[in-house]
């Protein structure tokens, strides 16, 4: 059987159990187009180059394997922060658990409601940035998300918003899937900090489109943790205008399968895009960061900083690309991906790429895998710090470059506290 045909049949088999939700004209059109894209490309297979390091099988099945919810005494992340909470339980917005969705310089709507109107400003973004991000590399789960997502938030930011918007995903029942789609438009000179945390479902497909207008700023801090057996495939598609800023940080602990794709297009001059990740994996852990940054304007800066600590057979994947289009002069591109392998069973698979069509650019990239620094370990132990605690300190030290990408100090400390807590629990 030809590959294309087999792929098509597998895709149709999966789609037969899914229904495109009802909605108003604008979203029906967007969903229809997304479904057509998905049918055209088909669901990924292991032999697909872009899925060489991460098996898509369990993402393709009709139902995901059940994921037990983790019960911890730990205080919820970002607890005590001044923020606007937007809570989703098993992939459905929960008004009772959420705060009042209003704030100065900010409008927040449920996607499920925005989808009922016949026309909405989000039509210029929803599925649009995703569609644009399908070239040159296909991202079938993103198209699937645009076609089938029933809920999410639609946020428009018109001012400098102090209070972060905090998206919280709760996994309450045995439901297999949650599909959420968020649309964020940051208008000129506006600023938003978005927080995300929680496991959502046994299998979580989440997509976020972020359209940052000229001089707008978007800050993002995300934590993926708790339920160990969860699977997640997430996408961020960002379009950045002139002098805009986009900074995203993700920490991932636990999770049998996580694939985080981030696709950014710098379309206006002097824009800045930073993406960073710090992952801690122990045992049955597979974590994949796939990043694609396109420079299509002059004098833009992009940074990718990804660090993974892997032990007891955990796997880390990094596929990161910087594409500098013709004319994108004075591009400053930096990419680093590093793993700290705490034993011989763990592995890190990296595919760093640079593709440059402009002649006046500065781009650098590096990728390393290494063990713990024995001299540093001895130094700490010689001061009386036991080996396991010393190893954890050096683990945090290793992750620091990524964590320091978080600009707000209180958020940075919150994340560091979380990482410390996780390490401490592992020590027992």
């Amino acid at each position: 059987m030809a590959v294309a045909q087999r792929k098509q049949e597998a895709t149709e088999a999966r789609l037969s159990a899914m229904a495109v939700p009802e909605g108003g004209a604008w979203i029906t059109e967007a969903r229809g187009a997304a479904l057509a894209r998905l049918r055209e490309m088909g669901l990924p297979e292991r032999r697909d180059e872009y899925w060489r390091f991460t098996r898509p099988d369990t993402l393709n099945q009709h139902e995901a394997p059940v994921a037990d919810t983790l019960d911890t005494q730990e205080a919820p992340l970002f607890d005590g922060f001044e923020r606007i909470k937007v809570v989703f339980v098993d992939g459905v917005f929960d008004a009772d658990l959420s705060d009042d969705l209003s704030g100065e310089g900010l409008s927040i709507e449920r996607l499920a409601e925005a989808a009922q109107s016949d026309i909405h400003w989000a039509r210029d973004v929803y599925g649009m940035l995703e569609a644009a991000g399908q070239d040159p590399v296909q991202r079938p789960f993103a198209a699937m998300n645009s076609a089938f997502a029933t809920d999410g938030v639609v946020i428009r930011v018109t001012g400098k918003v102090e209070r972060p918007v905090s998206l919280i995903y709760k996994h309450a029942s045995d439901v297999s899937d949650a599909i959420l789609h968020h649309v964020i438009r940051v208008e000129e000179g506006a600023e938003l900090t978005l927080l995300e945390n929680g496991p959502a479902a046994a299998r979580f497909n989440k997509l976020m489109e972020i359209d940052v207008a000229d001089t707008g700023a978007f800050h993002h801090v995300r934590a993926q943790g708790r339920d160990h057996e969860r699977r997640a495939v997430t996408h961020m598609f960002a379009r950045l205008g002139t002098e805009s800023v986009f900074k995203s940080f993700t920490t991932t602990v636990n999770g049998v399968l996580t694939r985080n794709e981030c696709v950014i297009e710098l379309t206006g001059d002097d824009a800045i895009a930073h993406v960073a990740g710090a992952a801690l994996g122990d045992g049955d852990f597979h974590h994949d960061d796939t990043v694609f940054i396109t420079h299509d304007a002059v004098n833009c800066e992009s940074r990718q900083v990804f660090k993974k600590v892997l032990r007891n057979g955990a796997t880390g994947v990094f596929q990161g690309k910087i594409l500098v289009k013709p004319g994108a002069q004075k591009t400053d591109g930096y990419q680093i991906s590093q793993s700290l392998l705490l034993d011989d069973d763990s592995q890190f698979l990296a595919k760093p790429e640079l593709e440059i069509y402009a002649d006046d650019v500065a781009c650098s990239h590096g990728s390393t895998s290494g063990a713990i620094d024995e001299d540093a370990l001895f130094y700490l132990r010689a001061r009386g710090i036991p080996k396991d605690i010393a190893t954890d300190l050096l683990t945090l030290s290793f992750l620091a470059e990524a964590v320091e990408e978080i600009e707000r100090e209180d958020l940075r400390d919150e994340i560091i506290g979380r990482l410390e807590g996780w390490l401490e629990r592992r020590r027992g």
Partner: protein
């Protein structure tokens, strides 16, 4: 305090004998200095006593107040009172100096069954001790040794020593990379810690450090052995004549 008998050590990775039978006894309240040419085994001795990997003890013994050091993990030796001021203090990005210092102090207290210090208590203690070593708040806040000058790194070592209050201090070429002023500051820090209950072993190439930290006993080490022991005058002799005369005399 520290007792070393016939200590023989080779490198783990290769068949190279570094220490060929070291005998040394440092009494509480005394400062012993070890001098010797490059490659004589001075630094190896300090590493073996503090428990660094990569060395194999092939004979002899070493004890601190009667406790067998060689059987202990590095952190256990530290908790038992052993302290090594490193020749090259290690940089640890992302870990605040303060966090490091407090983790170390509390780990040792815990190991000894003492109560851990609260953050506030500790801060007070650090500030007082840092001040005399001219270590400012910024140096305490920065990541461990990152971006520190040579002098700052050595002062940070002495600050650790002051906070951990060890019984036995080994200073491994603490004078290397120091200018005159820094050496004076570091020496003052060490001298302030001199105490009837504490022993010091000062490893150095040069006599000048010993002008500031006055030793009670001076040993000359060569080819993995202590070849000569004397008073402070022995250091002066080395300074004037080099090692050649002494080595020729004992050969």
């Amino acid at each position: 305090m520290l007792e070393i008998k016939g200590l023989k050590v080779k490198l783990e990775e290769e068949d190279k004998q570094i220490l060929k039978g070291v005998d040394l006894k440092v009494e509480a309240g005394k400062v012993h200095a070890i001098m010797g040419p490059n490659g004589s085994g001075k630094s190896t001795l300090s590493y073996v006593l503090s428990g660094k990997d990569g060395y194999e003890v092939t004979g002899g013994e070493a004890s601190l107040e009667g406790e067998d050091l060689l059987e202990m993990e590095p952190e256990e030796r530290a908790a038992a009172g052993m302290f090594l001021a490193f020749q090259y203090p290690v940089e640890i990005p992302g870990v605040g100096n303060m966090t490091f210092l407090r983790t170390a102090v509390n780990a040792q207290r815990k190991a000894r069954g003492e109560e851990e210090m609260s953050a506030a208590e500790f801060l007070k203690e650090v500030r007082a001790k840092a001040k005399s070593l001219k270590i400012d708040a910024d140096m305490l806040k920065r990541p461990v040794n990152v971006g520190f000058s040579g002098g700052e790194k050595k002062r940070n070592e002495i600050l650790q020593m002051a906070l951990l209050e060890p019984k036995m201090c080994i200073l491994d070429e603490t004078d290397s990379g120091l200018d005159v002023d820094a050496m004076k500051l570091v020496s003052e820090g060490v001298n302030a810690l001199r105490d009837a209950g504490r022993g010091f072993l000062v490893i150095t190439h040069y006599q000048r450090l010993l002008d500031h930290i006055k030793p009670d006993v001076v040993h000359i080490m060569a080819d993995g052995r202590i070849v000569k022991t004397g008073g402070p005058e022995l250091a002066l002799e080395v300074e004037q004549n080099g090692y050649a005369d002494i080595l020729a005399e004992v050969a």
